[in-house]
């Protein structure tokens, strides 16, 4: 899809028009599901488990049912459906046993939310508490309680996943490349470390919300705040055994997703209540507390790394073991495990590699996709590890990175060859380093150090990510011409702020040769009317839907040219067009307008030709394969987007307080379709990455109760947390099969922010942090110890997160 057009030959791509939907959002007239009300609509509330693990011995809902205004009560006992994207392990409401604190055990639909709340209070549930398994490393022990004793009986996607019945392992992804033992034997240095990060909440400003109407003849209509209309429909139909034609999913404006709304969420709950209430529409909107503990979070990770390095500073072998805390259900966490399994080394060449990536069940809120899909977490480990190896072997960390970074001819962990078109990670690293004047202090920085007494340090961390998606992921786009010659683009990719629709609009206008104001991308997705799209995830939307848009535009033009050729009595090959008309290239005065052809052209005698002009574009990922389950070999990557972050931080040498003075981000985006949108993604993701690095994370008590399900106790960054200086750079190595050379960058801005900060702190004061978030007190403790220290937030009850740096010099 890449034509080697020079920037001056592009009229739309590479410019930064405003987002078309901003006016509605700015006027308060954009309707989100949380704003919607339907006639006869009921409000739902759920009864939640106070235990992390317990047997449900009795549920008495009689008092709730007797209350005025209560229209339906549903308990897990009466439902026999299981949900799951990859491993089908989750019930709509807990049945028999609760698996995490905050899990729903019963639900009520009532005339008002107040009545529903009171009814939930009136439901009596008796539990027999069971010992929970709370830490994922404990869950691996032979005598650990099983979160899912029935794991062996669940259905799952066998081509990609390997559950281990009789254990708490929902999936084990393996990768074997080269001879690791030989690599270690030949290494001058072997460095072994362990890193971790806790669960984190996505925090979409609009919590999960759905309205569902279970109509007559089991026809179901869903309005939901979700990312992926077709996946909601598909999983819903599978769970309830309904034909796809009988379920319709609408997605209007969505107040943020970040992966937390990638799959199915609260829709089935509202659906069973609507069915029980005789088909009245039921709305369920999660409270902020429920967003933290009823709905999914990002998985915690413990990552063990063992790396063998030659005397020249080349990595010879690496053993990578990732332990992902999936919480009570597998959801997307199994695929995070898989994606991190084949990407776990970061953008570095590892000649001999051994990866074992485990998804582990525990009795905690469950893990799902979150911006970066595992890469934020494991890049924390990899990029801190690269820094610690470099300082251990006495090499400059930047030099060590560049010496091992992927380059044309390198092979990834799965054996895929990197070419000159794949993207240029070295240029990203070098640009980030230059942007922060890496290698010393500027005159101003030195003066600042002298005046304040704080120490300034600099860090660089690289990143890579490819979309994690089925190898045959596909999408379609329809472009329809209106009577006045304008066009509307229909697609089921959702835009919940990423700006994809604006970029798609630019791509369509570019390919059609139309002015931008003649092109509209239709908002609000509808599975009955829009063509299929798999999911809005993985930074794959621009590439797949962008290509489908180009193909749809070409199809529409072909159809228009056929009509025009008849009207002008010419060969299609002799025709050209502008934004208004198709004309004869050698007699431009002879033309026929798009408007006259839009719904079919009337010839001078009244005969009609053509018909409504539409164009259809279908695109499916090319050349990707399943991965070998033993070796991990294969082609998983639609496109690799590489990047790097550079950071300048000043740290108080005694207290551990720190301030981020500057951050620079660099991504090889192939082509920035809309530079201001790219910049918005870069900065938004960067600050989300800083949140994860500095302060965010789930904290549990010993019984597995989440202690901080609110913004007061789980702070997210505000405007005051911004670094003083932010610089955004892009490298543009065209993606040959990307639209106008573009590749995805929605998630990448969040990856490797945390290790860049950790590396800068280490350079400033020598603190060796291996666990994030990095709170001031963690830095203070690390300064005192001059060695890697635990972080109290991720501290394991058995000390399994304890780091034992085992640096051996074999010489």
């Amino acid at each position: 899809m890449y034509d080697s057009l020079r920037p001056e030959e592009l009229s739309q791509v590479g410019k930064s028009p405003e987002c078309a939907d901003d006016v509605e959002k700015l006027c308060g007239t954009a309707t989100y599901v949380s704003d919607m009300e339907l006639p006869g609509m009921l409000h739902a509330q759920v009864k939640k488990s106070p235990h992390a693990r317990a047997r449900i011995t009795r549920i008495d809902a009689s008092k709730a049912l007797a209350m005025d205004g209560v229209r339906a009560v549903v308990t897990g006992e009466e439902l026999d459906y299981r949900l799951g994207l990859y491993v089908v392990d989750k019930r709509i409401l807990a049945k028999g046993e609760v698996r995490h604190h905050g899990e729903a055990v019963a639900a009520v639909a009532a005339d008002t939310i107040e009545i529903a709340r009171a009814a939930v209070e009136a439901i009596v549930v008796d539990y027999e508490p069971l010992p929970p398994v709370l830490h994922h490393m404990d869950a691996l022990k032979a005598d650990a309680p099983l979160v899912h004793p029935d794991l062996g009986g669940y259905s799952y996607m066998a081509a990609a996943f390997t559950p281990m019945p009789g254990t708490n392992i929902a999936n084990h992804t393996k990768l074997r490349k080269g001879d690791v033992e030989k690599g270690f034997a030949e290494s001058a240095w072997v460095v072994e470390r362990e890193y971790s990060c806790p669960s984190v909440q996505h925090v979409p400003m609009e919590t999960h919300v759905a309205i569902v109407q279970w109509g007559k003849s089991d026809r179901v209509t869903i309005w939901t705040s979700a990312q992926s209309p077709f996946t909601v429909r598909n999983l819903f139909c599978h769970a309830f055994g309904l034909p796809h034609n009988d379920v319709r999913v609408h997605i209007p404006y969505v107040g943020g997703g970040f992966g937390g709304k990638a799959g199915i969420g609260v829709e089935p709950l509202a659906a069973v209540l609507s069915r029980k209430a005789g088909g009245r529409p039921v709305k369920f909107r999660a409270s902020r507390e429920e967003e933290f503990s009823l709905l999914p979070c990002r998985s915690a990770l413990t990552y063990r790394l063992k790396t063998g390095v030659s005397a020249e500073g080349k990595i010879l072998a690496q053993e990578m073991t990732l332990y992902w805390d999936s919480g009570a259900y597998a959801d997307y966490a199994v695929n995070v495990t898989r994606a991190s399994g084949y990407s776990a080394s970061g953008p570095y060449e590892i000649p001999a590699a051994k990866v074992d990536s485990y998804t582990i069940y525990t009795n905690k809120p469950y893990g799902t996709a979150y911006r970066g899909f595992g890469h934020v977490e494991f890049h924390w480990a990899i990029e801190r590890h690269m820094e610690l190896i470099a300082s251990a072997i006495g090499m400059d960390p930047l030099e060590f990175r560049l010496r091992n970074a992927l380059k044309p001819g390198s092979r990834t962990l799965t054996g895929e060859e990197i070419t000159e078109h794949t993207g240029n990670v070295r240029k990203c690293i070098e640009t980030a380093a230059k942007a922060v004047s890496y290698g010393g202090l500027t005159k101003e920085e030195a003066e600042r150090e002298r005046l304040t007494g704080w120490k300034i340090g600099k860090g660089v961390a690289a990143l890579q990510k490819a979309p994690a998606m089925p190898s045959y992921t596909s999408t379609a786009v329809i472009v329809k011409m209106n009577e006045d010659g304008t066009v509307a683009v229909n697609l089921a990719l959702t835009d919940y702020g990423q700006g994809t629709y604006t970029s798609i609009r630019q791509i369509a206008a570019e390919r059609l040769g139309f002015p931008l104001d003649k092109v509209k991308v239709s908002f609000e997705c509808d599975t009955d009317k829009d063509p299929y799209d798999w999911q809005t995830v993985a930074s794959k939307g621009l590439l797949l839907s962008g290509n489908a848009t180009i193909l749809a535009c070409e199809d529409l033009l072909k159809n228009a040219y056929e009509v025009a050729a008849q009207a002008l009595k010419a060969n299609p090959c002799d025709l050209g067009h502008d934004g208004d008309k198709v004309y004869l290239k050698h007699h431009p005065a002879k033309s026929v307008s798009f408007a006259s052809m839009a719904v079919g052209l009337a010839l001078s005698n009244g005969n009609g030709i053509g018909g409504p002009l539409i164009g259809v574009g279908r695109y499916i990922a090319q050349g990707l394969t399943f991965l070998d389950k033993e070796t991990g070999e294969g082609s998983p990557a639609l496109d690799w987007t590489f990047g790097a972050h550079g950071m300048v931080v000043e740290v108080h040498p005694e207290t551990g307080e720190y301030r981020v003075l500057k951050i620079a981000s660099v991504y090889d985006v192939g082509k920035a379709i809309n530079p201001e949108i790219v910049r918005g993604q870069a900065i938004g993701g960067m600050l989300q990455g800083l949140g994860t690095a500095i302060c965010e994370g789930y904290i549990y008590d010993k019984e597995g109760r989440l202690l901080n399900p609110s913004f007061t106790d789980n702070k997210i960054p505000t405007a005051k947390d911004l670094p003083l200086v932010i610089e955004c750079y892009v490298v543009e190595t065209p993606q040959i099969d990307g639209p106008y050379g573009a590749r995805g960058v929605g998630e990448h801005s969040m990856i490797s922010v945390a290790p860049a900060l950790g590396n800068a702190i280490q350079q400033a004061v020598g603190a060796q942090l291996m666990h994030m978030p990095m709170r001031f007190e963690d830095v203070w403790r690390a300064i005192g110890r001059k060695e890697a220290v635990d972080n109290w937030i991720t501290k394991s009850p058995v000390g399994s997160c304890r780091s034992a740096p085992e640096l051996r010099n074999r010489e």
Binding site: D22, Y32, H202, M205, E206, T207, I683, G684, S710, A719
Partner: protein, 161 residues
């Protein structure tokens, strides 16, 4: 209890229950859903409205307290077909992503600029600190405010290397 108040220049008289928040009153009773609920606990600022000239979290005010008050919400911001200066600056500066925090953010900026027409960056950050935005990283919002105060040149860009 019966209350009477002015919202965006229109006078409303309604009976409300004592526990009803101003947020729900605006959204559900008056049909003005532009003001959003992000947490319902006064933490996130999505429900910011201007109450007798001051930006407040509408989820923390009872409707009965607003008896006699003058309220401004996002629905009153545009004038006819044209965006207000603040809205236009947000649009021009790509300061909107998912849009859920946007109405509250615009209200906070409106109060800021009324009180302080030439805020510096620290004052801008202070004014919007209570408005959480998970999408934008705030920078393009701050640039929109700079743009409104004659500092449109102070804007970062995307540098190609």
């Amino acid at each position: 209890m019966r209350i009477r108040l002015s919202v965006n220049g229109q006078v409303y008289a309604r009976d409300v229950e004592e526990h009803r928040t101003l947020l729900r009153f605006l959204r559900e009773d008056l049909g003005l859903p532009g003001t959003k609920e992000g947490c319902g606990m006064g933490e996130c600022g999505a429900c910011t409205v201007i109450y007798n000239g001051r930006a407040v979290n509408a989820c923390m005010v009872l409707a009965v307290e607003a008896d006699g008050a003058t309220i401004e919400t996002i629905e009153g911001e545009a004038k006819g077909d044209s965006l207000s200066d603040i809205q236009a600056a947000f649009e021009r500066n790509h300061a909107v992503q998912c849009g859920f925090c946007t109405p509250g953010m615009v209200m906070s900026v409106k109060e800021l600029l009324r009180e302080n027409p030439k805020p510096d960056d620290d004052e801008i950050k202070e004014a919007i600190e209570g408005n959480f935005c998970r999408c934008t990283g705030y920078t393009q919002i701050i640039e929109a405010v700079r743009d409104l105060t004659g500092r449109s040149g102070e804007k970062g860009g995307l540098e190609h290397v």
